[in-house]
Amino acid sequence: MRRMKPYLAIFNARFRMMLQYRAAAIAGLWTQIFFGLVMIMVYEAFYRSTDKPQPMSFPQVVSYVWLGQALLALLPWNADSEVKSMVRSGAVAYELCRPIDLYNLWFVRAMAWRTAPTILRALPMTILAMFVLPLIGLGEWRLHPPTLTGGIAFACAMICALLLSCALSTLMNISLMWTVSADGIIVMLTALVTLLSGMIIPLALFPDWAQPVLRALPFAGLVDLPYRVYLGNIAPSGLPAVMLRQLLWTAVLVLLGRWLLARGMKRIVVQGG
């Protein structure tokens, strides 16, 4: 427990710092609602264009869209801008002086940095999408509440999704050590993450031939799997399998990140002075 203490302190400090951006979160809310509405109208038009049965029903897709908007900030879509400027200015050398493990430090930073904005956004989004939409006559477009067991299973799957997301975020941070202008690589990683996690469209709506590939990759554990647990598309009894996949991939990515970090350390050149 003593060994955890510095990490808890870092998490606390980062978390509270991230909570300061409340106004930005509220302003972002409106944009996300707008995006959500447009996406739902597009799906509505697609669902009205065919009689063929689909792998997901329209109300399920609507809930999926709102979950995606509420939990958007949890996705590993960029590198930590502070780590970026540290690598650029050479201040990353100070990080190396700290008597704690650098990988763990960055991982914990990522955890605080992904959860705080998510909590700020998820709560008002859920209230709006679940309760306000039906009140203004848009009940067909609401976020349906989960069953009790579904909700609990979803919470478990989201915790694993957070760990997976942090392992990927830390990997992005580590990539900064290899090139000063890593923006291009990170944007491409973001492209992979948003497409293959199910953020752009639910993975079930991709062609059937793509399903085995999508299921084999780690990204489904970020969005698609936990959301399907929420929707009941995956029964609560399927939760252990989902969590196992998420945690196995997290372990693989952590090991990969640690290995890359160790290699990066050997060849690090501190820029400037």
Binding site: A23, V42, S181, D183, I185, A191, L195
Partner: protein
Amino acid sequence: MNEIALYFRYIGISIRGQLQYRVSFILYSFGVGVLTGTEFLGVLALFHRFGQLRGWSLPQAAMFYGTISITFSIADSIGRGFDQFGNMVKAGDFDRLLLRPRSTVVQLLGQELTLRRVGRFSQGAVVLVWAQSALHLAWSAGTALLLIAAVLGGACLFIGLVVLQATSAFWTTESLEVWNAFTYGGSLMSQYPVTIYRPWFRQFFTFVIPLACVNYFPMLAIIHKSDPLGAPVIFQWLAPLAGFVFLVVTLQVWKFGVRHYRSTGS
């Protein structure tokens, strides 16, 4: 030096500056192309799964998608100075611009011409070229000009929106993210023909923020499709003008805002 020459002088400097980091620039632009490309993969997958979209085929929808991507990337690249205006007000840097005996609009537009949008631009162009060949589209000088007018009118409209966003900073000191719903959200919405949306939504983007006029209506004339909403052909040809009018109106609002400017003093 007149205003136009001054503008080109400004952006010449901006472009030379951006090209200093060539590898970073190329990698990033390519990355953005891939990122917006994945978004289009989503559209492809939906058409693959559902066959068609309320009577619109994939190549038809792709015409809207490609055109709006090109339009938005041009506007985003030119209007960067206005987009970043909130920071300028916060730092008090706008005072400097006011001291110079030149138009604030030219000076702000001249702040930066962002070349990085080339990634999205090329991705939109690829989609557009593919879509028009899949449709075996018969081009005439008229429809080609109409496409250019639609792109330019659309760029004016999006620049008008960032001008409004910047103007709001005179009162709120901060550039409000709420405008992103109309800029980024507007470009998302325009990726599909407006007929698929609910009437209230469609009417808002035809009469209040005339996005449909710079994308949907001219595109009907270009792909020779009669309007399910019943707009006459002459209207389809004249609609892009709404984008230019929108910009002129927003610039008047901007002038009004400048008169209300109070420096933060920092």
